[in-house]
Symmetry: C2
């Protein structure tokens, strides 16, 4: 596996209810809880409701960020989960939010960010 | 070209000065101006300075978002420019910020988001 500074999941979330994707408070709650589920430390939370429909929001975490943009009329959300370091697994957040949004399908792929740089190696202890 | 709801550029920005990548006000200024350069409508701006170094921040725009995470000690920043619709070109923002950060190199690639859905076709007029 290539050493990298960060892991970035781009998730295409399909088949969700209009009302859920259009409820800014629920969308924020699911995204914040997804970050917490992965053990991330939350720094900033900003969400915005669009007219006539749609929600955009970002959860800035110490380990990078989660972002979402929803198209309620299509039952679709574009979601990003970007984490740095070894402590937090972005797939924990991704799996949580897929359930939270009751998605019929999720097409998610992971991209490595900062691959020119090595992550610090853990010290070999008691080997 | 595949129809898509959004265009998402993931940019690996290398060879920047430590002091610039560690200056939260300058990083915010460059990212906000990059959004404006592309003609985006800014909705929310949140930036955070980490100790001992590093900046994370997001500019939420009507057309989606811009995000950045900097590693000043490596001269590196991971940048996202995600835009929806035909009006805003994410490459305008990407090119602007590459200059703003005086990057020695930028490895940027565009990913289409929401490719299951067609963007509205413009009407053919006077053909």
């Amino acid at each position: 596996m290539v050493n990298a500074l960060g892991r970035h999941i781009l998730a295409e979330v399909h088949g969700c209810d209009f009302d859920l994707l259009n409820d800014v408070e629920k969308v924020e709650e699911i995204m914040v809880n997804a970050a917490l589920e992965a053990g991330a430390e939350i720094r900033e939370v900003v969400f915005h409701k669009f007219s006539p429909q749609g929600v955009s929001g970002v959860v800035v975490i110490s380990e990078s960020h989660l972002a979402i943009h929803t198209w309620p009329e299509l039952g679709y959300a574009a979601v990003d989960v970007f984490t740095c370091g070894e402590r937090v697994n972005p797939w924990d957040a991704c799996n949580y939010l897929a359930k939270g949004f009751r998605a019929k399908s999720v097409d998610a792929r992971e991209t490595r960010r900062g691959t020119m740089y090595s992550t610090p190696q853990k010290e070999a202890v008691n080997l």
